[in-house]
């Protein structure tokens, strides 16, 4: 794979422009959003010259960025003057994700991952209140440790193979394997696998919803594609270890989620659980890797939908019962369908993604891990669906008048499209 340079330039240029013109743009939020949207849309349109999976990654990232940017007006910042910086960070996070996913050699992957991590940490930090700063710092410290691991791993690979390109498959030496394992563990932090998930969990909780969705979706997309490209070079037994780490994550996060009473903490644990499923898929052979990319795009769309619905609710913790009153009809419906898709209720796309992963898991990992994975997946329905009856109460039918939030609508349309024609996305994934 090669870096899709033109889309990247669009995104970075838009970010630089926004930061450069920060002074006047603070007072003109519409212009600000327009410039940023132009950057993201241009990136998507200009990706048609690039082949296969790179284009898919660019489209997905652009879609996530557009939804997030449409939610910018509802982004709760500690200081309103920092709005241009926040927008720039979103764009740069998107660029980082693209580089992480499509980097041509290992150094590019590291650069992408750092851009993504640092932008995410700062986005979290810009939010309201003490909790945001605290969560951002925790996320940052763990990101720093992961970076160190990545660099050391890169060094070992370079020592073993004389180049920073992706090592070719073949008899690996101890140095090479150590290097690959260290690098993948570094990417596993970005994916938020247990037991490396601590910072990510707090970051997802404390971030403003408009930012949390972007941080989650982009980090998982980038990390999964990077892992999927690198992991097979570590050998089959390492893939099994990766899948087992994923299984541990799934069980751990599902249990943790069952104890939650507040919606954003619940969604944070759910993100960790989905990261576990992604790791299981990535460790399940070639079919599993395709399923992993399918799953991460579906998950990203659903996460965007859920957080778009929650955007603007403020930093205070929100219990389930308060949700219908504060969300209104359109966003309650969006949250309902988002939660059901995360839970894996057919015909929503979350279900297709899980089905896609369990087949390869049965083949590669054996009966027991697959059954544990399925058990955790269906048990998750209990915690995802707890808030839903209260949300249905918000429906004062027949008032289905839209409360006008473009981000929610766009995310909803994406999820709907994936419900009806999942095969379309599946076919676009060529690894």
């Amino acid at each position: 794979m090669t870096l899709p340079l033109v889309p990247l330039i669009c995104l970075v240029a838009a970010a630089v422009l926004v930061v450069g013109l920060a002074e006047p743009l603070t007072k003109r939020p519409r212009t600000l959003t327009a410039i940023a949207l132009a950057g993201a849309v241009a990136a998507a349109l200009l990706a048609t010259n690039v082949g296969g999976t790179e284009a898919l990654v660019v489209y997905a990232v652009a879609a996530f960025l557009v939804v997030t940017l449409l939610l910018m007006p509802a982004f709760e910042l500690q200081y309103q003057q920092q709005r241009p910086e926040a927008v720039a960070l979103v764009l740069l996070a998107g660029a980082g994700a693209i580089v992480l996913a499509t980097g041509g050699d290992l150094l590019q992957l590291i650069i992408g991952m750092e851009t993504l991590s640092l932008s995410s940490a700062l986005l979290v930090a810009l939010g309201h209140g003490e909790a945001a700063a605290e969560a951002a710092f925790k996320y940052f410290v763990l990101a720093a440790v992961s970076l160190a691991s990545l660099v050391y791993g890169l060094g070992l690979i370079y020592l073993a193979t004389v180049s920073v390109n992706f090592p070719s498959a073949g008899a690996p030496s101890l140095l090479l394997t150590t290097g690959i394992v260290l690098m993948i563990t570094g990417f596993a932090f970005e994916l938020a696998l247990a037991p490396l998930h601590w910072g990510a969990l707090d970051a997802y909780t404390a971030a403003a919803p408009a930012a949390a969705g972007a941080v989650m979706a982009l980090s998982k997309l980038g990390a999964v594609v990077a892992i999927v490209r690198l992991a097979p070079l570590g050998g089959n037994s390492f893939l099994f270890v990766l899948a087992m780490v994923g299984l541990l994550t799934v069980v751990w996060a599902t249990l943790g989620a069952l104890a939650q009473r507040e919606i954003r903490r619940l969604l944070a644990y759910s993100a960790i659980a989905h990261a576990g499923f992604l790791a299981m898929a990535a460790g399940s052979g070639a079919a599993g890797r395709q399923a992993a990319v399918f799953y991460v795009i579906v998950y990203g769309s659903t996460a965007m939908l859920v957080f778009a619905a929650l955007a603007g609710l403020g930093p205070r913790p929100i219990a389930f019962g308060e949700l219908p009153a504060r969300l209104g009809v359109q966003r309650s419906l969006a949250l309902c369908f988002g939660l059901m898709s995360l839970a894996g209720i057919p015909p929503l796309p979350g279900f297709w993604a899980k089905l896609a992963l369990f087949g390869p898991a049965w083949q590669s990992l054996g009966p027991v891990p697959t059954m544990i994975g399925i058990a955790a997946a269906v048990a998750a329905a209990v915690y995802y669906l707890k808030p839903v009856p209260d949300l249905w109460n918000a429906l004062r039918l027949p008032s289905l008048r839209a409360t006008g939030n473009a981000g929610v609508v766009l995310a909803g349309v994406t999820v709907l499209a994936l419900t009806i024609v999942p095969g379309f996305l599946w076919a676009m994934i060529r690894l």
């Binding site: 925790k138 410290v141 763990l142 440790v145 691991s149 394997t177 394992v181 563990t185 932090f189 037991p195 490396l196 601590w198 910072g199 707090d202 570590g234 050998g235 037994s237 390492f238 270890v241 751990w252 249990l255 943790g256 989620a257 069952l258 104890a259 644990y269 079919a287 395709q290 209720i345 057919p346 015909p347 279900f351 297709w352 089905l355 087949g359 049965w362 009966p367 697959t370 059954m371 399925i374 058990a375 269906v378 048990a379 329905a381 209990v382 669906l385 707890k386 839903v388 009856p389 209260d390 249905w392 109460n393 429906l395 039918l397 027949p398 008032s399 289905l400 095969g423 599946w426 076919a427």
Partner: protein, 593 residues
Amino acid sequence: MTQVLPWAFLVTLPGLVLGSTGVIKKPGVASIPGVLTLLGCAVAWLLGAGQPSTVELGGWLPFLPDGRFLLRVDGLTAFMLAVLGLISACVYVYSLGYLEDDPGIRRFFAFLDVFVGAMALLVTAGNLAVLLIGWTGVGMTSYFLISFWRNRPGTLYAGLQAIAANAVGDGALILAAVVVPSGCGDLTTLQNPACTPGVGGVPLLAALIIVAASAKSAQGPLYFWLPSAMAGPTPISALIHAATMVAAGVYLLARTHALLALSPAAMAATAALGVATALFGGLMALRQSNLKRGLAYSTVSQLGYMVAGIGFGAPFAAILHLGSQALFKALLFLAAGVVIHALAGEEELAGMGALARALPAAMLAFLIGSISLFGLPLTAGAFSKDAILDGGFAYSPPLAWALVAGVLLSGLYMGRLFFATFYGPARAAGVIEGDPIEARGGLVGIAEREALIGTTAAERRHLHRVPPTLTWPLLPLAIGSLVFGFAEFPQGGLGHVLGPVLGPTEAVGLASGPGLVAAFLGLLGFVLAGAYQLRRRGAIRPSAEGYGWVDWASNATTALAGSFAAVQNGRTGRYVLATVLSFAVILIAGLKA
């Protein structure tokens, strides 16, 4: 009709759209033509207007062994659709009256429409992928409807119990859908040798199907959600938790009976499970103080009969009994609903009595439902139960005699419920605190409630007006409970239609030896229970809701979950320590591998 019926799952969509968006002003009315159409088309198909057909759209889910969108209509499907259509139509009309004062009535009908669509999809599904959509869809709508009255305590917990039990079944079906070899998944070909999973083989697939069916039909240890589901409105108890959704498990077993027949162990397990549940349900029903929960345990028991029928190798008998149970159980629930509505929400037997003269339609309906349930000769229940007993005696006489004993139980508990509700002295339950009228909302107006506070229980008992939409739907169900058995007779009627699907159908005779014994025992039980009930002095005291082991499991899980969440203690130092150590562990594990 051949082209139309596969698309049955869309029939309630127009009603859903028109009703939700408010185009039709009166709530619920928009949805009734849909279910009537369903009923009409299905019956027309059964009477000969339709041929078996399939609808296939390929390439829909490329990552499954069999990812086509496949719909199939045959005799069994049409029969299930007819049952669905009839019961839904009655329940829809009934709900117009039952929920007329409820602010959420439009939402209620929306959920009902989605349910009917999902159930239709379930029975028209041609392969596991489509089946899963319908299967989970009915589970979801059931959950939303159980927890419909969010302002009442305990409805959410009841709904979550339903989710938990359904989750087990869903998990089993998901596993079945992914383990079959490539290209397999079509429900009618699961028994082919080419479709045996590599690991586990036929026993695994059969076990998964049985677990899935048990979860949906409340068999074995997964029974617990059904009595709790009575927290939902009574029309839902009638439609979903008596007649249609819970029967989906039996439907699945019947659909895959050829696969089950390949494994004698599976057949034996199914038969044993069915018989055990039948007896367990009957015994528990005898101990209930709540009218709806008594009927719920009765449903568990009757489903046990059907599952036992599958295990005996008599799927036709099981399906026949599915039809009878749908008719008489829905009738019983709707009649109970009339009583509950008249008493402004009272569901405890301790608050009933002496209602026969005031609610004659309900009393008659309940009586007809009861006699069909315990199997008075010539009623629908008698024919279908007979057929199951015939199958039982051909398979294993001890199990069959156990079922016959179970008929005595059914007579006993129905007699107890009937006479406690409609005869004996008039009673009213409770004191002001925890008073049912205080705790429940929606059926009693505010002014009325104010007037009732401070009155004694006995003074409070006055009957609310029962709208005619509550009594008219009882009629078709009552007629059906009496004559459905005769559907078999014109030229082997129903057997002729279901034969191609379910294999050689057993001759349904007028009465066989054990069948007559069973009928006699049922009648005996009914009369004995009635005599005992009329003689007793005190009321049946309300017993505590909830079961120890389910609450224990729920608390244990919550505690375990809490301990996992507590690990995330917020200290950055700990996080870093854990992260670095984890890196080291993963590195070592990765290198050793």
